[in-house]
Symmetry: C2
Subunit: 624 residues, 2 copies
């Protein structure tokens, strides 16, 4: 096979790729992650690069403006190298590879300790025991393993335990070199000895909880001895280069080497976050003995390198609802070589471990009266129920509310426009941390649509209406100037296409909520509380969300923001045996309603595409 | 490092070894196994080779005759290559690498089926289930794994099961390619799915029982569906090149790469036997899903590549009494890649899985009255007890009765002299299968010593006495001509050194038996039966054994030959869950008596070195 070299500027990264490779694939190989919503199919037009020199073929596309074409800008996914190439990466096309812990995550930190500590007694996934063993003698000549068991029995541990042959091989020497003072790390759920170390290392036992989101990955480092969170970091899931949503990822996984590539990307992102957070807190990876992941089924399949293709094919079957405990090293996660990974499972192909974790973290599985959990990420999932029953649905909301797939979208980080008002014809915005505006986050978009609708800039179908100096024609059609750049900052816009994306997302979410209410046979007023979870939930303006028909018109105090419940639940699962037991029950007992087989769903969805809805009664208490 | 090449004739095998390597190590690398009792220390003088050309250093030795020295014969272990060498292997120094199934093993085959079938219900270590799964549909959309569990529940199998990630990865595709007709192989003791295959393979499920002896390895191939033995083969343990007994092996294991070498040798021998037997019966290795090994603790440690050095050091501690289930592939055994190995454990460093298997196979753990089991292999172990108590000891008998470490010794194979009489001054011998004599097996030696003593060729100390044409002076001192060669056959001798070795072995065994009786507080007449197990036991002349003081003088009908109970027990363990459960109880409940800490043992041993004993009362019923 003929190989050629592609050099990416401004970083000067060079990679060798087979003749004819596309530039998007080459860029991933160079660890450069371009935004690409469609997974490299030439449809989203986001992976723009500038070609400086070399020979290449490029397919025609309607996604580039004339001025871009003149500047030698091409879509990376549709451009194929025929000689050594020099390629310039445009900063605005880069998927942010790392973002600082956001206010959003800091928000969780305030809630976490109470919830976890009150609910679940601490009994972590991996537990260390320091043992001072009596030296063997002719009168006490039991085997090395029996000696360890005898000491563990004092902690009410059921022996014998499973011990793998490579651990067993090390034990005789470790016992004697340590003068019979050792620390044993156990996986008590599986009755297994994971590691035997010299001396007392029991004070340093750490675990990782990871929310493997389609768009964002959040990692927390936890002290397994007391359940306290030491730190949290997040990054975009670099799989994002191969598509925004789970379906696009699954399709990419079906390509040759596709599954391996996506698996590798998510593992790399997680490893980078773990390494960073461990380094920041001066904790060695060898002292991290357990990791729990919560993700939707597609993310969990990709994490484990299990073929996800049957998840998207009728009748939508996951490989498993629960996943086995495995060595983290088996899937390439770098913690202690004896450390284990336990992914949280879920009830259905489109309701995964992130939702199990959410139900666990909120405690709704244990309530007398019905609660609702709405988790709005790239997929929207909704759960309704109490201690006797749990129903769930999933809605393909798309990532618009997470700030992806919209022109100036961003996550809820400093500088994100989170509030928007039109007063006396004047736009008033505020940003997170009062920093210079750099994009719009989900809560911002809700207020913008609410205000644009209220002030008749857009009609019930979301179309820009009338003439206004703030509405202009851009590359993607009409656009509204949310913030006018001052030279140092750029213009921040909401386009007609953005609004359509946002309305589709809100329609998917609301119609799913509505279907769940219908199916359960209860009415809005029976619901005790509605928990809003997920990437954008923490700061949304409930009134605005009601006014656009994203949420039903029920008393505002019934809504509770609960933050990243996938992460919160993963932590509980990591540190509490009781939480793990409850999770298995949640998975078993939660009933999934497949909206694709519900004839009335499409009708509900179409009605919900309008502002606020074609049938106002459906939003309100009056419906039942 | 400088490498040089050694060529071995007549096979023309060439190996490259570091400059200065000894020839014994080089020969093992060339898969040539020379007899060597001492483990390469220059003490046994058995590893003779002829050097044809090249430069070398050789240490002086008293183990070579003048005629050998003139013929360029050297001890391989004490000769170090300084240039490329040409070395001739002398056929008589070769350790037999493979011997045909002996009458001895055929003998077991007669006993096996009854014992196994009556005692234990069949529930094999690995069991296959053929499942016809209903195709998933929207109305029946449980996960792939749940679908398998649902079908397995009909067989009363406790779900969920453990399934490792690499198996889980294969399941979605296998289910769909097989049109939902699959065979699942389970390790039910560990609640694990080992393998999922397309179609119905449940009819072909095989297992291996292996007796890993210090001298001999015996392998049986078992049909796991009905417990029947398909075939049995045996070979010398090629570790024999590094010493005859367990202590020599342990010392060798402590050298650099020693453990790896011994591990590799035993695994190679087992693999060769499995391959051969599978081929002979047209069974593919992929259909062999489980293997059970029974060996003494040293053999089991070496099999698993666990450092055995603490077994021989005060206070004699094994790494474990019970060993974990592992993939056979983890230690290099070639059966199905998903096949598992479970070694049988034992109560102490010198009473291992072979004895646990023996107690299991004989059923003595379940008797009302005391039974004794004497297993005479390279180590002699003796167990005494009934359903309420079990005592055991080990005796370092050495391999003389297995035909090793004696000049013309052989195992009980065709042509072995098994019977010897002196009538009217004339020697009368008979061989197994009435084939031309080629050596002396254990039972032959017992009769020879008995007759030589009876007819005063040797005195009570075993020394050749008087002058007789049949006694001559040989290289190793005086020797008795058991059989005079006829040109085609060679002379077969018993030497003074042989007799000393045999008397040491018999003294070790008898004094161990006696100590056990003393410790238990019972007397000879309380013993219901004495089971004689092990490599040479099947054909011994009880009267002769009594006359030389190897066995006590109790009624002959109390002795029962039970053959290779290690193999028999391994089979039971392999095919019956109940047998596995019982074995764990045997290991837990059997009390080991360490003779090295018993002050009176040395006295007993010294008395038993004489023919038949210094104190005749100890041999007889009168003692208590």
């Amino acid at each position: 096979m003929k190989y050629i070299v592609i050099t990416f500027y401004p970083t000067n990264k060079r990679v060798a790729v087979p003749f004819g490779s596309d530039i998007l694939t080459a860029s991933v190989k160079a660890n450069i992650f371009l935004a690409s919503s469609c997974g490299g199919k030439g449809m989203c037009g986001r992976c723009k690069v500038k070609i400086l020199s070399g020979e290449f073929d490029s397919e025609p596309t309607g996604k580039l403006s004339e001025s871009e074409k003149k500047s030698n800008i091409f879509l990376a996914c549709r451009t194929f190298a025929k000689s050594n190439l020099e390629v310039e990466i445009l900063p605005e096309t880069l998927l942010p590879s790392r973002i600082a812990p956001s206010i959003f995550e800091k928000g969780i930190e305030i809630q976490t300790p109470d919830l976890l500590k009150n609910l679940f007694p601490i009994h972590p996934l991996t537990k260390k025991y320091f043992l001072r063993l009596p030296k063997p003698s002719i009168g006490d000549s039991i085997s090395d393993i029996e000696r360890i068991y005898r000491a563990l029995k004092k902690y009410s541990i059921d022996v014998p335990l499973n011990v793998n042959i490579s651990t067993l091989r090390k034990i005789p020497q470790i016992l004697r070199e340590s003068n019979w003072e050792i620390t044993v790390t156990l996986d008590e759920d599986n009755n297994a000895i994971l590691l035997v170390e010299q001396g007392d290392t029991s004070k340093t036992n750490y675990g990782i909880a990871v929310d493997v989101g389609t768009t964002t990955i959040v990692v927390s480092l936890i002290n397994l001895n007391n359940g306290e969170t030491i730190g949290t970091e997040s990054a975009f899931n670099s799989q994002g280069v191969y598509g925004d949503d789970v379906i696009t990822r699954i399709i990419y996984a079906e390509k040759q080497q596709g599954l391996e590539t996506l698996h590798h990307l998510v593992i790399s992102t997680i490893n980078e976050l773990i390494q960073n957070i461990a380094k920041n807190h001066s904790i060695t990876l060898n002292n991290i003995t357990g990791i729990v992941s919560a993700g939707n089924m597609t993310m969990t399949h990709l994490l484990l390198k299990i073929d996800p293709s049957f998840l998207r094919r009728d009748p939508y079957i996951p490989s498993s609802n629960n996943f086995p405990t495995m060595f983290a090293a088996e899937i390439g996660i770098k913690i202690s070589p004896s450390g284990i990974l336990l992914p949280i499972g879920g009830p259905a192909s489109y309701v995964g471990g992130d939702i199990t974790a959410g139900v666990l973290a909120t405690g709704m599985y244990n309530e007398e009266n019905p609660y609702m959990l709405i988790d709005i990420g790239t997929n929207g999932e909704v759960v309704l129920g109490d201690k006797n029953w749990l129903l769930c649905v999933s809605a393909s909301a798309g990532p618009a509310f997470e700030g992806t797939g919209v022109k100036n979208g961003t996550r809820a980080i400093e500088g994100a426009i989170q509030s928007f008002k039109i007063e006396d014809g004047q736009v008033k915005i505020s940003t997170i941390g009062n920093k210079p505006p750099m994009g719009i986050c989900g809560s911002g978009y809700i207020e913008i649509i609410s205000e644009l609708f209220k002030h008749k800039f857009i009609d019930r179908a979301g179309k820009f209406a009338g003439d206004n100096e703030k509405i202009r024609n851009g590359d993607d059609g009409k656009e509204f100037i949310v913030y006018r750049g001052n030279g140092k900052t750029k213009d921040i816009l909401i386009t007609q296409v953005d609004i359509e994306n946002l309305l589709r997302a809100k329609a998917a979410i609301f119609s799913s909520i509505f279907m769940l209410i219908e199916k359960s046979g209860i009415s809005w007023e029976n619901i005790e509380k509605i928990y809003i979870a997920g990437g954008f939930g923490t700061f949304i303006n409930i009134k605005a969300a009601m006014s656009i028909g994203l949420l039903p018109n029920i008393p505002e105090e019934k809504f509770i923001f609960v933050g990243d419940t996938a992460l919160l639940g993963a932590k509980s699962f990591l540190i509490s045996k009781m939480a793990r037991k409850i999770s298995y029950d949640i998975i078993k007992n939660m009933t999934y309603i497949d909206l694709s087989t519900e004839k009335s769903y499409m009708e509900e969805y179409l009605g919900a595409l309008f502002l606020p809805h074609t049938n106002l009664e459906k939003l309100s208490l009056k419906i039942k």
